[in-house]
Symmetry: D2
Subunit: 139 residues, 4 copies
């Protein structure tokens, strides 16, 4: 198992295909079966009370799995999410980045599956869990 893209190549490609979320996410760490991504929490991601919104948590999990898949298969912008399940378990702490730890469970010819635990930075209890299936376009 080897990476098709380095962390820098991956970051650059994500910025290229999703320019509108350029300031939302950063890649903390990347290995062949794991990626750690960060939501750079800003006002636009919050609900009243200062907690990160559900859609922002979904977006973080989704981009983490997308990035993990691309890191392995290379630049294929057309990979699409087909299924997602999410458990929201605790309120994220106000004013903290949200950290997603993603592991790749399957990388098939047609489908990829990964799961994600999300933590408020510095916290030890997960605030949310996600699993995602991506459909990979034919070569």
């Amino acid at each position: 198992m080897t990476l098709a893209l380095t962390r820098d190549e991956l970051a650059e490609y994500l910025h290229e295909v999703f320019p509108q979320i350029r300031d939302d996410f950063a890649i903390d760490d990347l290995s062949p079966e794991r990626i750690t991504m960060r939501l750079l929490t800003a006002e636009r991601h919050l609900r009243p009370g200062g907690t990160v919104s559900g859609p922002s948590m979904f977006a973080l999990a989704d981009v983490a799995v997308y990035a993990m898949v691309l890191a392995r298969i290379g630049k294929k912008a057309l990979a699409v999410t087909t299924n997602c399940s999410l458990d929201f378990m605790r309120k994220p702490e106000a004013g903290r980045d949200l950290i997603a730890e993603c592991r790749l469970l399957k990388l098939g010819r047609v489908l990829a599956v990964a799961d994600v635990l999300m933590f408020s930075e510095g916290g030890t209890d997960p605030v949310a869990r996600a699993s995602m299936t991506y459909s990979i376009p034919p070569a």
Copy 2:
């Protein structure tokens, strides 16, 4: 089964508790077990190519179920999503509002469950399916 809030009361309350999404959603229709909500699709909801983003679809399903639950139990801002599953089935059509048809399947003392089909306005094939569980705070 009767509604605790009329459509107008519900719309007003959603605007009050979620001022930041005031221009994103509208309630098309409300009955004791169904609600139809609309994503007022704008530039900020789109991905390259003009298709509605995954987080925006999640947000539409989530607000539809939240609104359905509040319409029945009254103004309890603290109801929170605990679980969500989503299937993304087709690409939404560019430049169209997204319509969510939500039905309430269970309204218990502690948990509420609803499902949602989402359509591009005027389309007949669902672009996505969601089911959501909300946890209801004790009275």
Copy 3:
């Protein structure tokens, strides 16, 4: 949208490929986008107290979606479940068959998606909800 198999052809084929569940399920109704299947509830499907077990509910939803997909694409035993989400909402009534109402939401080249509501026979409130994705083998 037309059916590739009649109800009788479908029932016969299911018995042929899954002989071990021959006495567990029956097809009540079939149309191009819907199927109604029945769990012929017996002692082996029950938990203490007489309620249908979770695995039996999963099995009913799974076979309903499998049957729906085969009814449309014809005899392809190799279609496999790739994802399932289930909400268990009410306790099934003891001593009743369980009825699954399945609707086909997407039938693509590679993936099929359907959802299912399950009721105790004669009941009006769903006891469980399921959505399933099947992967369809290349022709």
Copy 4:
């Protein structure tokens, strides 16, 4: 975090409340946040070709999470599954036990959430992934 039941007490209690699955499952390992359970694969769990059936995989994940929750909260037979999501990723190997590695992600007053990876004994790639929510009855 301490266990309310030892492995032996837990095994005994599961046999008592679910006598009909007594020969299906065994507890390999238990700690305050993890449990490893085993499906003692037998003819009745198989599909044609010798692979473990979907309902048997669901049952293994479900009993693992139930056992994990009971190990922490003590003998409360009434804890019930409210939600489950499953990804079936690879075909289990014929003639092998199936091993479930479960971790407890949240143990709240009302809801518990855990996830599970399932492996054919001796295998390194997960055959399935599950997440489960249990509702805990009031004390």
